[in-house]
Symmetry: C2
Subunit: 459 residues, 2 copies
C-alpha cells in the first residue's frame, strides 16, 4: 500500500487525494494543511463578502466529514515546514509549535499561491486587506460587519478586484477601484476592459485607471490612499488584489527545481525534479496547450485537473496533464467576460502571425425577447488559419461562459477558425441562431482574412 502524503487541502490537494482513492481504494492518503478549511471554494469568497452566500460554511465544495468519509485523513492546522526527500519525511508544526514527522512513499505538494504584497508604505496598516484564504475572508468580513465602513478603495482591476467591487456595491459601500494599467481586466483586450469599466461605472464604482498606489496613511478614523497622477482618496478600508505568486518556499528549501515564473517545475505527469514528489495547482508551472511550453496560469480549474493527474500517478498510474488554454470567465454585475487561448500579443510573442477580429452578434435571434449583443474577439493565425484564441463579453445570461467553452473545445483539438462553422451546434430562436454566435464570429474572421480588410486589435 502506497503511503501517500499531500501538502495542502485546497483544490489540487483534495483532487489528488480523491483521485488516488478512486484508482487505488486501499490507499489512505493523508493531507496536511495549514488551516482548518479543507476544499473551500476560494473563488467563492467575494460572494460570501457580498452577503449572497449567507453562511461561509456553504463555500466548502465538500465538508470535512465528506472528505474523511471518502477515506482521506486530514491533519489540519499543521504547517509543513520541511521536506527531507532523502528520508521521505515531512515535518509539520501546529500553532503551538509542536512538531510532527510524517513519512511518505509518494508526496504531492499543493501549497498554492500567496497574494502579492506591494512594497509601499502603509501596506501593513490595520484596515488594509488581502483576499486569498479563509482567514483573509474572515478578517474582511469582520471589518465589514463590526466597523460598518461606508467606503472602500480596491487596488487592482483583475478578477478579485472586480468581483469585490461588485460585492461591496451590493453591500452598499462606495467603491473606488484603482488599476495601474490603462484599462481594467488586463487579461482581455482593452476594448473589453472598457466594457467592464462602463459596467462598473453604471453601478456607481469610481474607476481610476493608469494609477499606481504609492502610499497608505492613517488619517483620523480613515485611511488616505495616495497614488500617481495626484490620486488621493480617504477611505474606510483598503482591499489590495494585485495578483498572486506561487508559494514555493517549502519546495525550494527541499532542493526541488523551480521553473517558469518561480513556480515549481513539473512535467506533464506532474512530477517535480525529485523522485516520488509531485506538485500541482497554483504552486506549479502549467503546460499550455497552444504555447506548447510551460507558463504560470494559476486557476482553480487547472488545479483540479493537475491534482487529478498527480493523484493518479502517485498511486502507480501514468496519466498526462492535457494542458491549459487559460480558459477563464468572470461576472461583473450583469456582464460576463471570458477568454480562452492566446491574445494577439501572446500569439505574436511565440511566432504566430495572428489576426484578431471583433464582431458584435446577438446571443439569440434578435426577434425573440431578451436578446443581448455579445462582443466576440476571434484570434487566428493568418498562415495556417488555425484558431488561436477567443474573447467574449456580454450579458451573463447570454451563455457567454459556455460559448467560450465551445471555442476552448475547438482549440483543444487544434481546429481552424473556418472549421468552427462545421460544428453541429444546437439552435432554437430563444437560445441561439442557425449559425451560433461563435460561428458567425468565426465566419467574420475568415472573411476579414480573405478580404484583407482585417481590423487588427492591438492586445
Amino acid at each position: 500500500m502506497t503511503q501517500l502524503l499531500i501538502i495542502g487541502g485546497s483544490d489540487a490537494g483534495i483532487s489528488a487525494a480523491l483521485r488516488a482513492r478512486e484508482l487505488a481504494p486501499t490507499t489512505s492518503p493523508m493531507i496536511v494543511m495549514a488551516d482548518d478549511f479543507p476544499n473551500f471554494s476560494i473563488c467563492g469568497l467575494p460572494f460570501f463578502l457580498s452577503g449572497e452566500v449567507t453562511d461561509w460554511r456553504n463555500l466548502a465544495h465538500r465538508t470535512k466529514e465528506d472528505i474523511i468519509h471518502a477515506g482521506i485523513q486530514l491533519l489540519t492546522n499543521h504547517t509543513a515546514t520541511t521536506i527531507r526527500p532523502q528520508d521521505k519525511v515531512v515535518t509539520a508544526i501546529d500553532a503551538a509549535g509542536k512538531e510532527k514527522h510524517l513519512t511518505y512513499d509518494r508526496l504531492i505538494i499543493g501549497t498554492g499561491a500567496v497574494s502579492n504584497r506591494p512594497s509601499i508604505p502603509g501596506i501593513d496598516l490595520p484596515g488594509v486587506y488581502f483576499l486569498r484564504w479563509m482567514a483573509d475572508s474572515f478578517a474582511v468580513h469582520q471589518h465589514l460587519t463590526e466597523r460598518n465602513p461606508r467606503s472602500v478603495v480596491i487596488v487592482g482591476g483583475g478578477y478579485i478586484g472586480l468581483e469585490m467591487a461588485d460585492a461591496l456595491v451590493l453591500r452598499g459601500l462606495q467603491v473606488t477601484l484603482v488599476e495601474h494599467n490603462p484599462s481594467v481586466l488586463k487579461t482581455v483586450n482593452p476594448i473589453l476592459g472598457d466594457m467592464v469599466k462602463g459596467e462598473l461605472e453604471r453601478h456607481g464604482v469610481a474607476v481610476a485607471n493608469g494609477v499606481s498606489i504609492t502610499a497608505i496613511q492613517e488619517q483620523g478614523n480613515q485611511l488616505l490612499v495616495s497614488g500617481s497622477h495626484g490620486f488621493k482618496e480617504a477611505t474606510d478600508m483598503v482591499l489590495v488584489a494585485v495578483g498572486a505568486k506561487p508559494n514555493t518556499q517549502l519546495a525550494h528549501s527541499a532542493g526541488i527545481e523551480m521553473g517558469f515564473g518561480g513556480a515549481i517545475r513539473v512535467n506533464r505527469k506532474m512530477e517535480t525534479s525529485r523522485p516520488d514528489i509531485y506538485a500541482a495547482g497554483d504552486c506549479v508551472e502549467t503546460w499550455h496547450r497552444i504555447l506548447d511550453q510551460n507558463t504560470y496560469l494559476p486557476l482553480g480549474t487547472t488545479a483540479h485537473k493537475q491534482g487529478r493527474v498527480a493523484g493518479a500517478n502517485a498511486v502507480g498510474h501514468s496519466q498526462i496533464f492535457a494542458g491549459s488554454l487559460g480558459t477563464q470567465v468572470v461576472k461583473v454585475f450583469d456582464l460576463a467576460i471570458a477568454r480562452t487561448g492566446l491574445r494577439d500579443s501572446e500569439a505574436l510573442a511565440v511566432g504566430f502571425d495572428p489576426l484578431t477580429l471583433e464582431t458584435d452578434v446577438w446571443d439569440h435571434k434578435g426577434y425573440y425577447p431578451g436578446a443581448h449583443k455579445l462582443r466576440i474577439l476571434v484570434t487566428g493565425d493568418r498562415q495556417t488559419g488555425k484558431l488561436l484564441g477567443a474573447q467574449i463579453a456580454g450579458h451573463y445570461q447570454g451563455e457567454v461562459a459556455k460559448r467560450i467553452d465551445i471555442y476552448a473545445t475547438a482549440l483543444f483539438h487544434g481546429m481552424t477558425v473556418a472549421a468552427v462553422s462545421d460544428l453541429d451546434l444546437s439552435y432554437t430562436p430563444p437560445l441561439g441562431s442557425p449559425w451560433d454566435a461563435v460561428q458567425m464570429a468565426a465566419q467574420a474572421w475568415s472573411k476579414a482574412l480573405q478580404s484583407d480588410l482585417a481590423c487588427c486589435q492591438s492586445a
Copy 2:
C-alpha cells in the same frame, strides 16, 4: 460566369446563394421560390403566434432588400414545376399559371419539407391547421385574432407541438396536447420527456400521452377531436404537428435518385445523382458523423451548412459537408431540453455497446443564488470508452444549449467520455463549477463503467 439557379428561398437556398457570391463575386445566383418570404425563420413561427414577436416581418433573417443587395436575384411567387437535366432548364409557373423557363449551368435544389398530414377523417376541416410555411402561420394567426378561440387541441408532442403549446398558453388559450407515444418529445429519453410533461402541466396544459387521433368532426361552432382510449375533446381549433417529410416530387420527376427516408440522395459534396445538380436542406438525406451513414434529420442548422457547401461547390470549389450530430435544443416554458449524438437505442442499432448514465448536477456552484439542477444523460461505448451522445434538461438559463454544444464539439472530434474532463472549460461560481457540469456527468459515467454499477437508461 457560372449561371447558378437555386430552387427554394429558405435556409439552404439562401445560404447557398450567399456562399456562392462570397466565393465567386461575379456570379449572380437566381433563386426561384414559391412564396414571397425569402429567408424567413421558420423556427420562429411559434414566437410570432405567441405574440412575443409582434411583427412577422421581424422573422426574416434578412430582408428581401438585403438579399438583393448581396447580389442575389429573387424570382418570388413562382413554383418550379419541372427540371429538365438534359437541357439544363427549370420551368416555373406563377399564380396565374404563366410559365417561365430558366436555364442554368449549376442547379441547387432546396425545396425543403412538407408537413405530414395524417389520413384521418376531418383533417381538412376549417379550423384544422398545420405549421410549416409563412402561409400556414398567417392562417393560424388569422384564426387566433379574428375568431378568438379559447381552446386548442395540439396533435403531436414534438418540437413544434411543444413550442405551440407554450405559445398558445401565453396567448391565454386552454391547451390540450395529444401525443401517440407514451411520452412527449420522443427524440429524448422518456425520463426527460416526463420532465417536459411536468413543465407543460405546471403551466396548465392537459397532456394526453399514448393517444392516437382517429377523427375530427364539426360540432356546432367547435371541432370534436376523437382518439384512441376513448379520447374525446371539443375544441375551438386544432393544430397538427406530427413531423415533416422531404419535399422531393420535383426532383423525383426529374429522374434524380432518392435515398434515406425518401429524401434526395446526396454525397458529402451535396451532389445529387445528376451532374451539375446539387441539393441541400430538409429535402435531402444527411450524413451523420457518428452513424457514419446517411439518415434523415431535417434541421435548420444542417440546412444552412449543407447550403453553404452546395453553394461553394456549385461555383467550382470542392467542399465537404462535415456531417450532422443531430444536435438540437427546444425551450418549453422555463425548461430547455437538448441532445446531441446518439441515444442508447440508436447506438445499439448500429453495433455500439452503449451505456447511458443519468446525473443530476448544478449548473453553477450551489452556494451562489439562482443555481438550477441540470439532468444530464451521457451515452458512451463500453468497449472503446468513446462518447456517443448526450442529453440535457434544465432551466433555460442554465446554459443548457451551449453545454450540449460542448458535448457536440467533443463528439465532433471523437473524444472519449473520460477525455471530456481534460477540456479546459471556464469557471466562475455564478456560471459554473471547477469541473463543469458536463465534466461531472462524464466522470460519473466513467465511474459507473468502472464499477459496473451502471444504471442503464432504456432509450
